[in-house]
């Protein structure tokens, strides 16, 4: 694995902070009704993305996830302005305003979505890997899902096929403790989710998902195995989401104290502590980063605000490749 240097720590600090603040902004503009629909935020889970990005090659490797998907494309290189614009429903958005919060995509940056149906992305991730293997490309697919999603049949069928066909895919469960209001304990007799790999003879294990170093190490090992033809891996990242499931969640299923406990091991704070302890940067230098992050988030907001709404024909034009497809009229 690439060494975790001072530069890496500083990048992690800046990236994770940017993702956090970017999403805090989304929550704020959601309340102003500039962003609508559902809004699922990633607050607390950032170390999983930071660690992953350190261990993969974004030129060849692919990411696919569920609907908690605003910051992964940014990590893969998508201009955050375009993600913000998508949530505003603007023409400059990643899907030209067609997809919204749950459906961010960037073919250019190997980000394959952004999927709203729980578990729907799991076979797709294996399918991306199928094509890479078919064409003898060196890419590996990282396929993310929640703790709730592992209870979908799609996972179990896909695990079997991915092993049977030795596909270059790494399945990553982001166990943040809850699927909406349902704790992991209430969904299965076996609470160690990583053990689901055992039944398929798939290499598997638990990972501290609040520490980007631990994440990077585990992902590196899995990705290298897949790249060398060693097939799939299943990793369970133990993490936590600070915010509600979506924006309308009274969170009666957990206590404030529980949330506070996890904030003590917040990935951004952990990285910040190491930076200060190892004297990679001074408090004042980190303050500068904080400031620039804030400014960049404001630029995203401004861009989204000022962008135009899409033309009406786009909702038709994007359905088929065929240019003169005969759509039925729906009103006069």
């Amino acid at each position: 694995m690439k060494k975790v240097t001072k530069e890496v720590y500083l990048k992690w600090y800046e990236d994770m902070l940017f993702w956090r603040k970017f999403e805090d902004k989304l929550a704020a503009v959601y309340i102003q009704q500039k962003v609508r629909g559902f809004l699922h935020l990633y607050n607390g889970q950032e170390a999983i993305l930071a660690g992953t990005l350190h261990a993969i090659n974004p030129k060849t490797d692919k990411l696919i996830t569920a609907y908690r998907n605003h910051v992964q494309p940014i990590g893969m290189g998508v201009d955050p302005k375009r993600v913000m614009a998508e949530l505003y429903g603007k023409a400059t958005g990643t899907s030209q305003g067609l997809g919204g919060s749950m459906h961010i995509f960037s073919k250019e940056h190997n980000f394959y979505g952004g999927h709203g149906i729980v578990g729907g992305q799991i076979p797709l991730g294996a399918g991306l890997a199928f094509a890479d293997k078919y064409f003898k490309r060196e890419g590996v697919t990282l396929c993310y899902m929640g703790d709730g999603a592992v209870r979908q049949g799609s996972l179990h069928e896909t695990f079997n096929l991915a092993m049977l066909w030795n596909l270059p895919v790494v399945f990553i469960c982001e166990n943040n403790g809850y699927a909406m209001g349902t704790s992991v304990a209430r969904t299965s007799k076996e609470q160690e989710i990583w053990k689901l790999g055992l039944g398929f003879d798939m290499p598997c294990g638990p990972v501290d998902g609040m520490d980007p170093v631990k994440v990077a190490e585990a992902v590196h090992e899995a990705v290298e195995r897949a790249r060398k033809g060693g097939g799939p891996t299943f990793l369970e990242m133990k993490t936590y989401r600070y915010r509600g499931h979506s924006m309308s969640d009274a969170q009666h299923y957990r206590t404030k104290e529980e949330v506070e406990e996890y904030k003590k091991i917040d990935p951004i704070t952990q990285v910040k502590d190491i930076i200060l302890k190892k004297k990679y940067a001074k408090e004042s230098e980190l303050k500068e980063i904080d400031k620039s992050v804030k400014a960049r988030v404001s630029e995203c907001e401004k861009f989204a605000e000022e962008s135009p709404f899409p033309e009406k024909n786009i909702m038709y034009d994007a359905v088929y490749e065929q240019e003169d497809y005969p759509f039925l009229p729906h009103k006069l």
């Binding site: 609508r36 629909g37 559902f38 998508e86 429903g89 603007k90 958005g93 899907s95 305003g97 067609l98 997809g99 919204g100 919060s101 749950m102 459906h103 999927h115 709203g116 149906i117 729980v118 578990g119 729907g120 709730g148 999603a149 209870r151 979908q152 049949g153 799609s154 699927a179 909406m180 209001g181 349902t182 209430r186 969904t187 299965s188 009666h252 299923y253 709404f309 899409p310 009406k312 786009i314 909702m315 038709y316 359905v319 759509f327 039925l328 009229p329 729906h330 009103k331 006069l332």
Partner: protein
């Protein structure tokens, strides 16, 4: 009379039936401890306990099928889908098992089961979360399909659905759960397969169902100011369809507009159109007009979504067209 919310009407219907009939249980994601994703089962865990109000993991195929199996063996399950978009994951169990088991077994097995939850769009939720499946299920022999539009109908029809010996699809809307309406104290049922004239009129018939019917009401109010009198029929049940009520009205008004939130290809409105032209052709003074959602997946952007979803202005235009105004 007292007024209650749509979600309370649903809750009362389920609770009353569960008090009377031990074989009925409620199963689905977040139905118990969370009191329902949209609070339609509020308090039911407390009253009936975890053996009869059952939280499930996100395993629609598994629990839909388990419910069907239990229905073949003495239960009367109510299965809640958080929305019918997610029922797609388990639709095989509904279409291949619930709908067919009776006929395929030569009538040996009953399948008294209700699958309920929200259908159609609910704001800017985009393509995967905005689909109307009434015509999909209504296409399937063996199923009955109910889509109420107000709390009174919801309660009476849901009770009939739970009592029904065959599988029933019962469709609601996230955007209706907060709607208030008059619902009497005490028990009542509404028969499955009977439409209701929600507004009497003489110039044109508008047929609709589910939450979108409100756009027809709004249009009728506007049109009345211009001296145009609309008769509005609420189908309430899509399958079996109450053709008699529609035909009688069309024979009176001689003009028909159908408002349905669904993709235009082969939907419920198409079926009504066929029936009316075959049974009341000579009564029609204008071609039938149907209003649907655009022939595309639902877009997210507010400007696109507005164009995609039909509204009362579209109804007004359609009414004027069939009246040649």
């Amino acid at each position: 009379m007292r007024t209650i919310q749509f979600r309370e009407a649903v809750c009362e219907a389920m609770s009353e039936e569960m008090r009377k009939d031990e074989t009925v249980y409620l199963m689905g994601e977040e139905v118990a401890e969370y009191n329902g994703a949209y609070k339609a089962s509020k308090g039911m865990l407390d009253e009936f306990g975890p053996d009869r109000v059952i939280d499930t993991p996100i395993s629609e195929l598994g629990f839909a099928g388990i419910a069907v199996g239990s229905a073949m063996n003495g239960n009367k399950p109510i299965v809640e889908f958080m929305t019918f978009n997610f029922a797609l994951v388990g639709i095989d169990q509904i279409i291949n098992n619930a709908a067919k088991i009776r006929q395929m077994s030569g009538g040996q097995f009953n399948c008294p089961i209700v699958f309920r939850g929200p259908t159609a769009s609910a704001g800017q939720l985009a393509a995967t979360h905005s689909q109307a499946f009434e015509s999909w299920y209504a296409n399937t022999p063996g199923l009955k399909v109910i889509v109420p539009s107000n709390p009174y109908d919801a309660k009476g029809l849901l009770k009939s659905a739970i009592q029904d010996p065959d599988p029933v699809i019962f469709m609601e809307s996230e955007q209706m759960y907060g709607d208030k309406g008059e619902v009497p104290e005490g028990e009542y049922t509404i028969p499955i397969g009977v439409a209701e004239i929600k507004r009497e009129g003489k110039d044109v018939t508008i047929v609709s169902f589910g939450k979108i019917i409100k756009e027809a009401y709004a249009a009728a109010e506007e049109l009345e100011k211009e001296g145009i009198s609309c008769e509005i029929i609420d189908l309430r049940t899509v399958r079996p369809m109450d053709h008699d009520t529609i035909l009688k009205s069309v024979k009176k008004t001689n003009r028909l507009v159908i408002l349905e939130e669904a993709w235009p290809f082969g939907n419920v409105a198409t079926e009504i159109t066929y029936q009316v032209q075959s049974q009341a052709f000579d009564y029609l003074d204008a071609p039938i007009v149907k209003i649907n959602t655009a022939d595309t997946p639902a877009p997210y952007s507010p400007v696109l979504f507005k164009e995609w979803l039909p509204n009362h202005n579209d109804v007004i235009k359609a009414v004027k067209k069939v009246l040649y105004k």
